[in-house]
Symmetry: C2
Subunit: 419 residues, 2 copies
């Protein structure tokens, strides 16, 4: 009996509790366990893990991890299954996943999920949003859902996203747009944040429509706190979703990765109001990279809250949309269009100069997330927290030290306080 | 001695008075006379006359007209010179130009031009704006200029146009844009109208920049009346320009043709505020048809005064521009780009459904211009007024009668009063 199956059997009850349908057989049980487990050790969008699952499946990948396979074995298994992997990559992957294997924490996260009524939706389930599969090796391993699972798989869906620091103008336009799209049968997808996101959800609820909120942390803790009531209302008729297990904290890296799900799970994305460096531009970048229709609502050029929208219109070939009808047309008129070859479509993953909301390189974001300004942390601790190898963390720390973002301390590293 | 030369010699004094440099020789004298004369009998942009001039030159074309050449002779002369022309086209051309030959009126217009200090600038002159030659057979025959002729030939120029019914927002943005472009060395081209145009000129003057206003009627009569002081100030440092002779009234047709000059005489066009069917969209259409950079300033989607700008962004691939720097970049970054093949570029001449400011077909606009709501006019009178053949006028009147735009009267035709 494989390690995976033994562990899965031990958690059969806990795993059954987070699935909406009875578990059919042992192979399904193992698959559920493997995906839940891998989702708890890897950061969202881990491409190496995605490739491994593509080649050998989630169960075999989890097996290697649980059996503490050496990098050589990992490489060997993948190569024999037809994959290709660099030994250093394999070592790096195992080094960042292994320290996070913690059976106690995993079991507690499953129990917490059951307690809040969260279900794990997996590829192949009726409710699985097919659009996220287009993320390829960066697709989520599973999605934790509170509310109506079917809300997630809606065929007609559109993301309405924008700045937290929205203006009255932006909120007004969002309210009208969301209500108008609900009238046209669309599910409204957004990020549950203050400002535009919140208004998009609220207006959809007020119009008795379906709305889905993607969170950057576990669905057991509603974030932001001020939206606890709103998110609870969304659960009642729509869905609150995350690829992270219960208990996971929303880090900046996870917000950026969450944005890829918003873009991928909906047919098209509209940015309603966004500052010049707003995080919503990151969502827009993901939509563009996926070749999904991207719209931007213009506003006064004198309003900094519209500067990001104008940037999308000007630099990224976003379509100018001014009302719900045009937003519906955006999605209906250009379903799954090929990525535009006309102007350069930003690659959110490679963009490290802040154009799409990233202050620095993806790895730097993750290390900075893991650092504290008050408690010094050593490299091993940081590596575990951010899900990277100790040597990668060291490399990043060196770079961050050079630009005075981090500082050494007798007990480890500190993030330098700003402003 | 040709008729043209005899007539030109008789007007040598009057023609010298409207030229900035002494007339070099008889052939130049004839050319000046011929272009001034043809410009007084044909409506702006008359393509048949443009073709005739391309093939046989302005002097020969004027000769045929003055000698009352038959259509057969007209066809023969053009054909022998390598042109090709349909006999019915020739007849139609002669029929619309001949009734307007009026030596007394022509002389009075020249005297009036001299009186107000207007000069006739012709192709080949240093001040001639080369950009208008790209209008091909629709290029102006000459330009009447009050002010500094050299302002007209500025190499760095940009058109700032927009709605008469501008908002405070639109005027504010226009003021900033115009001043910022003057700071960057641009000449500001516009149409002298109320609203955006006026603000563009005013702000350029306030920044001690150069600005050029293209009028739809003769430069002896400033239109609109309320801009008499503004236009006089433009004359002092820039130029007020028209292709129509002194005394010519600004008709709707001429406004639309004037718009092609604004687009053609500048390197690029920016629409700052425009209603959904604003006349500035006509200027934008000309700019796009000429392959010139076209920019649009976004505004609140809740403002009808920005709806035309959003339409340009959405449907016509205009570039979103939010400040002077981006406008300067628009022109500098895309000098004389080829007409976009990406989205359909509107052809202002063929668009008769109002998208670019034309309420009906070009001919209908001209006939409606020539009609009065109170004084009935017969077909011959209308044909002379609008520069079309009597039979074309009859055809158009039939169509307009069918849609109740015109009505028959014992003494001729009346335009039906609206609103």
């Amino acid at each position: 009996m494989s390690t995976v199956h033994r562990e899965a059997t031990g958690l059969r009850g806990a795993l059954s509790a987070v699935r909406s349908a009875p578990i059919a057989d042992d192979s399904e049980l193992d698959e559920i366990f493997a995906r839940a487990l891998l989702g708890s050790v890897a950061e969202p969008g881990d491409g190496l893990l995605g490739r491994a699952i593509d080649v050998i499946g989630a169960v075999a990948a989890a097996s290697l991890l649980l059996d503490a396979a050496s990098p050589a074995v990992f490489v060997d298994v993948l190569t024999r299954a037809g994959g290709s992997i660099d030994p250093r990559e394999a070592e790096s992957g195992l080094d960042r996943w292994s320290p996070r294997l913690d059976q106690g924490a995993f079991t507690r996260a499953l129990e917490q999920a059951a307690r809040v009524g969260a279900r794990l939706v997996l590829p192949g389930d009726a409710a699985w949003p097919d659009g996220v599969d287009e993320l390829g090796i960066h697709a989520p391993l599973g999605l934790w859902v509170r509310g109506r699972e079917s809300a997630l798989g809606s065929s007609a869906s559109i993301s309405l996203v924008g700045a937290r620091a929205a203006t009255g103008y932006g909120e007004h336009v969002t309210m009208e747009a969301s209500a108008g799209l609900v009238d046209r049968g669309f599910t409204i997808v957004s990020g549950g944040a203050y400002g535009i996101d919140g208004m998009a959800h609220r207006s959809a609820l007020a119009s008795e429509g379906t709305t889905v909120a993607f969170l950057a942390g576990g669905v057991d803790r509603f974030y932001p706190m001020g939206h606890e009531t709103l998110l609870a209302r969304i659960v009642a008729t729509g869905a609150v979703v995350s690829e992270l297990p219960c208990g996971a904290a929303p880090t900046k890296w996870r917000f950026l990765q969450r944005n890829r799900l918003i873009a991928a799970a909906s047919e098209g994305t509209v940015v309603l109001e966004a500052g010049f460096r707003s995080g919503s531009l990151n969502t827009a970048g993901h939509a563009a990279a996926l070749g999904r229709p991207l719209g931007a609502v213009p506003g006064p050029v004198t309003s900094p809250a519209s500067a990001g929208c104008h940037r999308l219109l000007r630099e990224y070939d976003a379509v100018c949309v001014t009302d719900a009808e045009q937003m519906a047309e955006l999605v209906g008129g250009a379903r799954r269009r090929a990525p535009s070859g006309d102007r350069a479509v930003p690659d959110p993953a490679s963009d490290d100069r802040g154009a799409f909301g990233m202050a620095s390189s993806p790895d730097a974001v993750r290390v900075l997330d893991a650092l504290s300004t008050r408690s010094p942390r050593d490299v091993a601790d940081l590596a575990r927290r951010c899900g990277m190898t100790p040597s990668s963390v060291m490399g990043v720390l060196g770079g961050l030290e050079a630009v005075a973002e981090v500082t050494r301390h007798p007990l480890g590293w500190l993030r330098v306080k700003r402003g």
